[in-house]
């Protein structure tokens, strides 16, 4: 639906032709989406504990990018995007609280991560799973056990410590050591920065 002046989404020009209010060209937004959308989505899942909500808020953040993203400096656009996403997430939480859903869920004991199938597929790569399985097998048994109990069984560290009859600090240390090894691989091979 292009006019004589061109589609504002394509040209980055507003319909009234005011150049100083030019929005980001759609191609730029598209590239930013390709580069940052998955990481932003993962971040928002961490904040909101809900894949559907995170997806919705991520879309809202990119909508804001199209509207006012030109006001951000190019070198800080990622930080800007995450900040907008975080604010949108906080606004979402407040709306949820107003609708009767308790804010306490977010601040005291947070529920396990919830992800819809689409979000999960977006964030989980098959090859990463295969690699992580190999790394898991290389961990010492006591670390493997804690990881399994926490990540699969969904037990809290306190419950795991109680069941193993060891101090909570011991369980936390085992988990921390395991996660550090996995995160080192993550940063080195999976998603080097």
């Amino acid at each position: 639906m292009a006019s004589d002046d061109g589609d504002p989404l394509e040209t980055g020009q507003p319909p009234d032709g005011n150049a100083h209010r030019a929005r980001l060209p759609i191609q730029t937004v598209r590239e930013l989406y390709e580069v940052h959308s998955r990481e932003l989505l993962a971040f928002l899942v961490g904040v909101l504990r809900d894949g559907h909500a995170a997806d919705e808020v991520a879309q809202a953040a990119f909508a804001r990018l199209m509207e006012v993203g030109h006001e951000a400096r190019a070198e800080t656009i990622k930080g800007w995007l995450f900040k907008v996403g975080f604010h949108e997430a906080m606004a979402f939480r407040r709306r949820q609280a107003l609708q009767g859903k308790t804010l306490k869920n977010y601040t005291v004991r947070r529920d396990p991560l919830l992800a819809n199938e689409t979000v999960h597929d977006e964030l989980v790569r098959r090859e990463d799973v295969a690699k992580l399985k190999e790394l898991l097998a290389e961990l010492p048994p006591d670390q493997q056990h804690v990881v399994r109990q926490r990540m699969y069984e969904g037990k809290t560290f306190a419950v795991i410590a109680d069941e193993l009859n060891v101090p909570l600090g011991t369980v936390l240390t085992r988990m921390r050591l395991a996660m550090e090894k996995l995160q080192k691989w993550w940063k080195r091979d999976a998603y080097p920065t």
Binding site: K78, D111, V124, M151
Partner: protein, 188 residues
């Protein structure tokens, strides 16, 4: 930054804090302090994103990984469906089972066909005439001459031993008789 969160955290410490945040293991004050930093520190946001993705992948990987031997008084656990699934018969396995059963049945039939000449299977294989043809032969009295009958069967017949006549033969003969009666009526 307020609360108990150390703003100087970075590297492994930050990653670990992000994991605890994602897993919901921070205290209320730690959580509020952490979220304050999320608003201003991109590195903290990135750590949370990485922790979420790693957690998701780990959850999938752990499900498919072999269970680590328990080293405490843990009760035995039921294997998840995903693990049990690997022990179920696959579609290819089903075809192999079917093929094996078919082969066994074929071998069994072959072995039976190699038995005595008067065995039921031999008799069944030899009876390939239609019922109407058999009735016709029976009616004309040429059955013995035309049917391929073993000597053993002839001896059986001559010995006077009672032979059970199948119901279908009685039915066929009755039908033939009633048809004949009908034809003679028409001719009149």
């Amino acid at each position: 930054m307020t609360g108990s969160f150390d703003q100087t955290l970075n590297g492994d410490s930050l990653n670990w804090l992000a994991v605890q945040y994602v897993l919901g293991e921070l205290s209320e004050s730690e959580l509020l302090a952490f979220e304050e930093r999320l608003e201003t520190d991109l590195a903290v946001c990135e750590a949370v994103a990485a922790a979420v993705r790693l957690t998701f992948i780990l959850q999938v990987a752990v499900v498919d990984s072999p269970v680590v031997p328990a080293f405490a008084t843990n009760p035995p656990r039921v294997l998840p469906d995903a693990t049990v699934h690997s022990f179920k018969t696959t579609p290819r396995g089903s075809w192999l089972v079917l093929a094996g059963a078919t082969t066994a049945a074929a071998v069994l039939l072959a072995a039976m066909s190699l038995g005595p000449a008067s065995s039921p299977s031999t008799q069944l294989a030899r009876v390939d005439r239609s019922a109407s043809e058999l009735v016709s032969l029976w009616r004309t009295g040429s059955a013995v001459a035309e049917l391929d009958i073993d000597d053993a069967d002839v001896e059986l017949a001559e010995s006077g031993t009672e032979v059970a006549v199948p119901d279908w033969l009685f039915a066929a003969v009755s039908l033939e008789q009633s048809n004949a009666a009908g034809n003679s009526t028409d001719e009149r």
